[in-house]
Symmetry: C3
Subunit: 378 residues, 3 copies
């Protein structure tokens, strides 16, 4: 990326005549460079600490416009991806499905170390990332008790932790309980950061694997009808998915949810503003008959506090069972981010249209693709 | 295994003319096929989910009879192994003792991923399995908080968890708090499952390493005298060991235990029915003088609840110390599944006949052998 | 090492004519051999357990005297290292900085297994060791809940745990809550042990990385002025550092700390006895202006119990901020063992003299060097 920008050195570093190489260039909205990471020639680097540097001349973002492959620096939120990025990532994920044991492709990340920095346990997500890294020959440093790093007693900041961990690894996969934590980590880190969920914020790799699964199962992303079912108010999954669906043409979305957990207005407004047709419905059978994708989600008990009566009413309302299967078209599929309780009955599992375990497996391929892109590039 | 059975396809899959390959065929008691796992040709597989398939024609179990090597699919319980299986596994374990660092043999599982899915911590067992996998070049995904997968709050079934984890790994080693959990996992999984202990149920790899140690230390398994000492009521270890000892000829077993934790009738009846001579005794010195193997176990305090007086009485009753050593024959050995408290005194450790740490080490070789057999075959 | 000592066999082993090879020879103070580990020829080893063996003839410690490289067996305490050892280790650490991904050097520990046996969590230290091992191609067995091994309920001794774990791995990195635990482990283990902190005792790899950082940043270790700031009473870090600084010539140490956490007399006496000039001061600005190294530490709240007023008074007293930076010489550096709270203000981070994150990174190189030396030798 060095050819794309030059750097104004400030302070004593400039006077020293040191040369720098741009190793990381992050673009904000509108493809304006919003962040630079630079590496200095050795002697300065040794004493350099963290010098201030800002881009003063970016030679046209021409190779970054829609339709071209972009440089992937971090994976922080679903909104970061447009349809060209998405298609490019999905192509790489497809290649990942074909990686065979003991093949040269299964060793492309040999020598690379991924740190899984989990401030709250999420075994499923962690294992998926660690499997992805190891399937490509990489190695893993694991911590599921990252809170210990920054315990109240010790009080270290997230930024300090990141500065230490980036010394030990080549990429950080972080799960955190606070919204925005992944962005803070990425701003500090000189190595790539993947957001594996930050509180009520984002879980972008889940959204990517959802879209990838739809493409693999239905064969296209334009012109599809999607039913989003269940807890639409609290599920970051369906919210991120809505953002990504809006990147495609002629998408129609049906919201089916108990009143207490309806989709919020911000997403509805966003869909409207981007020309996505959407509709609320209380008739799951009818919606199922029209949709290519029925995306069921779990009603999260922990959102209801003391009101267990409301929870019980909500969770029993829209169940995907044999009746729903019967209404669905032959080519349609049922998705679910897992874990599921009884919002999809076990009898559904044996139907070829039950795609949720294939969806979980696709998470592996998407994460393999992202690790490859972040560490080696396209 | 495809040549051993054909498959009746049911439902739409049959009509489509799809071909299937049998990848897993599990035999129940009497060598009747009890379970099939099949893989479908690619297109169908993609949409196939889990199709129903049952064996309709098994071409004679001739290559599965005693004396031939069998296909190892899962390791679930001690009863699964007969003396020919055992001897064959012990041969492979012996080869594993000779695997050297950086040799080609030390890389035979390169590219394979083992998931250690531990619903309760058992660091010793986990490290032994993980060491075994890594000594053969394989990689490991670790979780010691697998309960988080299926927490009360989230409520995922074991079956759903297994379906997810099998997408990330090539073999599952599972420790669970519920008897029978390993079998449930194996019924769901399309990849091999090893039971690393399921509650009061089974811990078959411990039983295998015990038998292997006896063979290595004494030089034979037929015609041996074994003293089982300590908690015989609650220890799944001695119960499993009794099952395996019954596979050999002229074995004589002595039970030496406090009254409150005596060996239960089911095992005694089983031994009698298989022609194994057994006897109860309260004289450890006398038993020690007759035995090739003195198998000591820990009195488990947690089994006594509030009755600490009973616990204290029981734990002090039969101690292996210098006096017992003096009574033992020169070629005999002391075994213990570890951890030990004071039921073997530390002074015994320096005697060559104290074989319990060599026994622990043998666990590594047995687990290497099982991983090799399950992933690569004979 | 076999040529350096012969062995008197006692007991039955001697009579059998067995041969032994000395695999481990530990020298106590004054270079007297204090411990031997031997391996026996195979047949005896198989039955040998732990035979008693003591050195009766050591052929001159000539190659162990100052100025020669020594055989590194365990890393247990800072006092174990003299300036020649230190310099030799630092040379290897410097080579480690130059190890490149996918180079042959990055694979020198392939086939080796490190067990990180942590009886209390210390994610930072653990990740640093595990990164070091993996950067050299080695593999890791991790446990952060090693207490489970020896839980009150089960009651296994540390010695028994070590005997088991040494069967699974090639080197043990241990963190323990009890002072002296690392030495006990090393006395039992037939494989190398690294002390990764044992309670209030030692944390020798921290002291080594501190010294290495000073050499890298300042260019020398003789003739330096060092300000030790903060909690000097409880911090094992500064105590160990004082021991190592005393190995060098013309070192001058300034102690700057709140009264309640002043450096204890044992260290002061030791410095005096070894000719190191030291002084206590309450003027951090003045000390900063004279020093090559300002070594700041965290005031540990947990040391103050209920006396939060004392804690608050102590922690605010000596802060490294812009004012201190201004007083410091251009070539001087600020160090800190991390984590830091507000005893170094964030504004300091951007100054090239803020060396604490480079210091953390140096921990990686020191640990790579130690693992290489312990497993492969010089």
């Amino acid at each position: 990326m060095a050819s794309l920008a030059t750097c104004a050195l400030t302070g004593g570093a400039a006077a020293s005549g040191a040369k720098c190489t741009i190793s990381k260039l992050v673009f904000g909205p509108g493809l304006m460079p919003s962040r630079l990471a630079v590496s200095w020639d050795q002697e300065l680097n040794h004493r350099g600490g963290k010098l201030q540097c800002s881009a003063v001349d970016v030679k046209g973002p021409s190779s970054f416009i829609s339709g071209k492959k972009f440089q992937l620096d971090d994976v922080l939120e679903a909104q970061q991806f447009d349809r060209d990025n998405l298609n490019a990532i999905f192509e790489v994920a497809r290649e990942m499905e074909r990686v065979e044991k003991k093949s040269p492709e299964s060793q492309i990340l040999k020598g690379y170390l991924m740190a899984t920095l989990f401030y709250e346990p999420s075994t499923r997500t962690r294992l998926s990332f660690e499997s992805a890294m190891k399937r490509l020959g990489g190695e893993v440093l694991t911590t599921e008790n990252a809170r210990e790093f920054s315990s109240a007693a010790k009080g270290e900041t997230l930024e300090d932790t990141i500065r230490t961990v980036e010394g030990y690894s080549d990429i950080i996969v972080m799960r955190h309980f606070e919204s925005g934590a992944a962005k803070r980590a990425a701003l500090t880190a000189g190595i790539p950061v993947i957001n594996a969920g930050d509180g009520p914020g984002q879980h972008p790799t889940q959204a990517l694997l959802d879209m990838y699964t739809i493409q693999r199962e239905i064969g296209r992303l334009d012109g599809i009808n999607v039913g989003l079912v269940g807890d639409l108010a609290n599920g970051r999954t369906v919210r991120s998915l809505a953002y990504l669906l809006a990147r495609y043409k002629d998408v129609k979305i049906y919201f089916v949810s108990p009143d207490v957990v309806k989709m919020k207005d911000d997403i509805k407004d966003y869909l409207t503003s981007t020309g996505v047709e959407w509709k609320e419905s209380t008739n799951l059978v009818e919606v199922a008959s029209k949709c290519d994708v029925v995306y069921q989600t779990r009603i999260q008990r922990e959102r209801f506090g003391e009101r267990l009566d409301l929870y019980e009413a909500a969770r029993g309302k829209y169940i995907v069972d044999k009746n729903i299967l019967q209404a669905m078209q032959k080519h349609a599929v049922v998705l679910h981010p897992l874990p599921r309780l009884d919002e999809i009955t076990v009898e559904v599992d044996d139907d070829p249209r039950a795609a949720y375990f294939r969806q979980a497996k696709n998470g592996l391929y998407i994460r393999m693709a992202l690790l490859k892109l972040l560490l080696l590039g396209w």
